[in-house]
Symmetry: C2
Subunit: 211 residues, 2 copies
């Protein structure tokens, strides 16, 4: 909370995120131009690109916050847990503060609808996936350090993280396509999918319920 300059900067940034989200949600991502966003906020187009690396970046401003919290939670897990447990526990502890973290940037309802926009817009799906892989790299590195492994030769951390990440994305899509667009609903779907992860790989496919 320093000078006026930084506060102003924060305000224009917030305004850009807010307005962009509203336009994306109401008109669609592809249909919204950067010029429309900047006109609504009354800044130049050039300024927009000084705040965000691209039109896509502003769509993931909230996601950035959430993911960084999850990452921190993983780092904070005690070393006694198995890697798989550490990931799940970190996820659980993240759910608690997630609501407020989102609300700090945009209303939660808006973020929910933005999530659906992301999941249904091919260009944004692509970016979402790329971001996931980047997060996977970081998580795999953390797990490798936890277990004292060489990340270049031992692929176990990466494989574990990749499966987790894949399941979480599946859960995210399932949730976005459903009715219950609450955080609690998302949590339930995700837990359910993670419970399925182990049994589903076995040959006795039916050892777990599908629904």
């Amino acid at each position: 909370m320093t000078g006026l300059r930084e506060r102003k900067k924060q305000r224009t940034r917030d305004a850009l995120v807010r307005v962009a989200h509203e336009l994306f949600v109401t008109h669609g991502y592809e249909e919204t131009t950067v010029d429309e966003i900047t006109e609504a906020v009354d800044v130049s187009q050039r300024t927009f690109f000084r705040y965000f690396a691209g039109k896509e970046a502003v769509a993931f401003a909230v996601q950035d916050e959430v993911e960084s919290r999850f990452y921190d939670a993983v780092v904070a897990r005690p070393p006694g847990e198995s890697p798989a447990r550490a990931l799940r526990n970190a996820l659980n502890s993240t759910w608690a503060s997630m609501g407020e973290a989102i609300q700090d940037v945009v209303p939660i309802g808006l973020h929910m609808r933005m999530w659906q926009v992301i999941e249904t817009t091919p260009a944004l799906v692509a970016v979402h996936m790329r971001r996931s892989t980047e997060m996977e790299d970081q998580l795999a590195a953390v797990l490798a350090v936890r277990e004292g492994l060489d990340p270049h030769t031992d692929l176990r951390p990466r494989v574990l993280v990749a499966t987790f990440s894949g399941v979480m994305r599946t859960a995210g899509r399932q949730w976005g396509s459903g009715e219950d667009l609450t955080l609690e609903g998302a949590r339930q779907v995700m837990d359910h999918c993670l419970d399925l992860m182990g049994p589903v790989l076995s040959d006795d496919w039916s050892s777990c319920a599908g629904e």
Copy 2:
């Protein structure tokens, strides 16, 4: 193999793919403009966009072929196998014909280097991921039919496919960053990663070797 018209069309398409791959590999993807490709093939820029939906599409022309073969192999698996086995067996049977399938479009060495370009170019990584999810959807649908499940309520097919897909992408990246850039090398890395998939989820992390 019908009229002259179709042959001509195929030739320009092949030329575009070939030239694009060579330029991407030598100069990099971002550094290569569509104009450079079309000038080398001597067609108008407009023609390029009639053959490919975008600059990215031409980079995945070969991948398209390979993935569709894998899909067909999954569909062709006998119903007796568990879903997880069906995926692995389909993968095994795909490796055989993969080499020729690639060679039909571009030299294999070129495709290998193109793979590395894809893995190291953020924009292409993003597209690659999006394509993976689309393939996942199709595979999940196939598995759901195989097992007679309702794909909307039973998430097991999707979860299984998501884990598989994640592991295969991990393997692909590991292979691309290594030394042995042969198809056989890729196959080995992928098999290894898939073997890790089950044990890695358990709490006795060390029940499998890392290397």
